[in-house]
């Protein structure tokens, strides 16, 4: 009897799963007689819903193309793409946020936009984009990627803690690095000799930011050489090191604890473990959500502010920017449709209002002033003053990770070196370490260049 019942149950379960599976494939919308554009992205959750909405609006506006979005959350996006390219079935469009544009362009893994779109439209796009957004997609004088959302960094601060420490109103902007150091020192708290709150702590991954602020260049375009040993970068690193010397390597490591990437309430600023944090515009959403939740419970709402990074050197940039970019893999079957979708998403060519709607829904920074200045987006900014500061910063002179083949590893190795220096109390010869890193990375990059030069076999494209 038991066997019969369990057998019947198993059969029923199998049928349910089968019907469910079939319903998924049957309910996938059909592209009718339009050309399909397969778009791979990594968004999921609330951001995924915003992306689905953009795709829906694009598909409604079209009678030629039909975008099918494929969400691929996780970190193995590159691997999946390369396997699809090697297998001969790549998507038509992808979204990426790693510093890979130059590397993939150099290896001819992606199309330059002038290969898939009319030259005048590409030129129009170049002029239309903000300089920082343009910089993220250019390699060797050509536009290989189109930025669809900028990620700008600034200093978030807990206004209540800062004003309590300063015993006066918090400044609107930081006048100098020394002022940041001073406020950080005042906001650092100990209880029974134990550290309980950090004023500010430079994240090891942010030498890219501070190096640029100090006026350093990570790459010399004129010589084609990487320059992490630039004197200004070393100066920035020594400044970061001064925090380790003050707090101790143990405290630095303990307090870092992957904090910067933690979501929502675990964000250290909200947990009041930090008074000041260097982070991107996406944290505005977390802060506003926390404030709304406190408001709902009729608690005292903590006030937060945003400072642009202080000016350190006359040659220094105002910050470091990265972002999401659209790329069209080589062998894509419908690159023309991909280009149309890129135009719709970014907002060029009369799509400004649609792009403003997208940016407002996702809390993303527009890639062109034309979108940022649109009435739809301006009204969004008025109700989100913290976010507005990031939009202002996006239009300033921001630095990017160098667009050079092998940049991905260069980015990783710089971060490794800073971690070694920040998490270790032993004295490290910084000049020597930076010189060794420069040599090592130059060899890596030259190896890629050399390989391409002497490549044999079939045509690279």
């Amino acid at each position: 009897m038991f066997r019969k019942v369990s057998g019947a149950l198993l059969l029923l379960l199998s049928v349910i799963i089968l019907i469910w599976g079939m319903s998924i494939s049957l309910s996938s919308p059909s592209p009718d007689d339009r050309e399909e554009v397969v778009f791979w992205h990594f968004w999921s959750g609330p951001d995924g819903e915003v992306v689905d909405d953009v795709i829906r609006r694009f598909n409604q506006s079209q009678d030629l193309y039909y975008v099918r979005g494929v969400s691929m959350p996780g970190n193995n996006f590159d691997m999946k793409l390369f396997l699809s390219v090697t297998g001969g079935d790549p998507p038509d469009l992808i979204n990426q946020d790693d510093p890979i544009v130059a590397d993939w362009a150099f290896r001819k893994a992606i199309f330059s936009m002038d290969e898939i779109a009319p030259l005048e439209e590409v030129e129009q796009m170049r002029k239309w984009l903000l300089p920082s957004a343009r910089k993220l997609g250019e390699y060797d004088g050509r536009l290989y990627a189109v930025c669809n959302g900028l990620d700008v960094r600034a200093l978030y601060f807990n206004r209540d803690i800062v004003e309590q420490a300063l015993r006066r109103e918090a400044p609107d902007e930081l006048e100098s690095l020394e002022q940041l150091d001073e406020i950080a020192r005042l906001c650092t708290r100990y209880s029974d000799g134990e550290l309980t709150q950090i004023g500010y702590l430079p994240d090891p991954r942010r030498l890219w930011v501070w190096g640029s602020i100090f006026g350093g260049d990570f790459y010399d375009e004129s010589t084609g050489r990487v320059t992490p040993d630039d004197a200004s970068i070393e100066k920035a690193l020594r400044w970061m090191q001064s925090y380790r010397e003050r707090l101790g390597a143990n405290a630095v490591a303990t307090y870092r604890q992957n904090d910067q990437s933690l979501p929502n309430k675990m964000f250290p600023l909200l947990a009041e473990r930090y008074a000041i944090v260097l982070d991107g515009q996406w944290r505005v959403r977390d802060i506003e959500a926390a404030q709304q939740a406190t408001n709902k419970m009729r608690g005292t709402v903590t006030r937060y502010g945003v400072w642009p990074l202080p000016s350190v050197s006359p040659n220094g940039k105002t910050g470091w920017v990265n972002g999401n970019v659209f790329l069209v893999p080589r062998h894509a079957k419908n690159s023309k449709g991909a280009w149309e979708f890129i135009k719709f998403w970014t907002g060029i060519d009369g799509n400004e209002a649609e792009a403003a709607r997208t940016c407002a829904a996702g809390g993303w920074i527009p890639v062109s002033n034309a979108v940022a200045e649109s009435p739809e987006f301006q009204s969004y900014l008025q109700s989100h003053p913290l976010f507005a500061r990031f939009v202002e910063l996006a239009a300033t002179d921001q630095e990017t990770t160098p667009l050079v083949p092998g940049a991905n590893r260069y980015y990783r190795e710089v971060n490794n070196l800073v971690q070694r220096m920040m998490y270790n109390d032993d004295s490290v010869d910084l000049s020597k370490e930076l010189t060794a890193l420069a040599e090592d990375m130059q060899q890596h990059i030259d190896r890629i260049r050399y390989r391409s030069l002497y490549k044999e076999g079939p045509e690279r494209d």
Partner: protein, 313 residues
């Protein structure tokens, strides 16, 4: 029997095993040979490979000598294996022996101790990230009574079992500790082996006046030695293949400062981040040689400490 059915009869064994054979050729033999060929090339996955002779192997030797890249990842893997395997073995045997005691609720205890092995690696990795948080983690909450500055675990570069930083546990120690979570699988094998030991051996020992420890030392351990040997080899292979947990706790980078960069992650980053499939293939082959040598060494040494019923093999 007709001629046709005779032919079918001759080929039928091959037809029956053909799905497996096909799988073996496509999924094992081809990648095996292809990776060997690629190890002598520069190959970025996107364009055709270019023959570079033994350059990739020279690079491996260079990095090994300097303790960078491959050398560093190999050391990390060796350390992880050297800490996790002996401790896991001791723990698995200890648990198996205790769970073999005839006590009330034995089945419940066995299930409880095996349960953690069924938790998916991703979930358990995130759980351990919380447990080993240097500031708020439960483990450091306890260790704070013994340490002035509790270990940094996944945030630290220290090596708790090496001389320069004794008992200052870092990321690799955290990974080794995590491996205890899956000890239930080994425990189960030991438990089965314990049930297989002939009770007359213990009875004979008792007649000779052997105590509990002596019985364990002179009967249980020798009788378990083939299983220990088997688990040892399995443990080495698993250490080299450890990927998911390393990827999660180090955010896919081997951080901090490559202290948790195990060889499988190094191989992955080289192949799919840096697009050096040729070099990654060479790493895989170097690893294969190292593993084969270690296994051969273990087999040689097993003659001295592994006891098979009915004599040595």
């Amino acid at each position: 029997m007709s001629v046709g059915s005779k032919g079918l009869h001759r080929w039928s064994p091959w037809l029956f095993i053909s799905p497996w054979l096909l799988g073996l050729i496509v999924l094992f033999v081809y990648p095996f040979i292809a990776s060997l060929v690629w190890s002598f090339t520069e190959y970025d996955l996107l364009t055709s490979p270019r023959f570079v002779g033994v350059d990739n192997y020279k690079r491996i030797a260079r990095e090994f000598i300097r303790g960078e890249g491959f050398g560093k990842a190999l050391w990390n893997t060796f350390y992880f294996a050297a800490v996790s395997i002996p401790l896991s073995t001791v723990m698995a045997i200890g648990l198996a022996v205790m769970l073999n005691w005839k006590v009330r609720g034995q089945a419940v205890f066995r299930t409880l101790f095996y349960l953690p092995s069924m938790v998916p690696m991703v979930a358990s990795s995130i759980l351990w990230l919380w447990l080993l948080d240097p500031r708020d983690g439960m483990v450091n909450g306890v260790l704070a009574y013994f340490y002035e500055t509790p270990p940094l675990w996944f945030q630290g570069m220290q090596e708790g079992v090496s001389l320069p930083t004794p008992f200052q546990f870092g990321s690799k120690d955290g990974l080794a500790l995590m491996s205890f979570w899956g000890v239930g699988n080994f425990m189960l094998i030991y438990l089965a082996a314990l049930g297989d030991i002939d009770a007359s051996l213990y009875q004979a020992a008792e007649l000779d006046g052997a105590g509990r420890f002596q019985k364990f030392r002179y009967i249980t351990l020798p009788m378990l030695s083939p299983i220990i040997f088997f688990n040892l080899i399995l443990g080495i292979i698993q250490s080299v293949q450890a990927f998911t947990q390393v990827y999660i706790v180090s955010e896919g980078t081997g951080q901090p400062a490559e202290s948790s960069l195990l060889i499988s992650l190094q191989l992955f980053l080289t192949a799919f981040r840096d697009l050096e499939m040729g070099y990654a293939s060479a790493i895989a082959w170097a690893l294969f040689v190292i593993l084969a040598t270690a296994t051969w060494g273990l087999f040689r040494s097993s003659r001295n400490w592994v006891h098979y019923r009915g004599g040595r093999l």
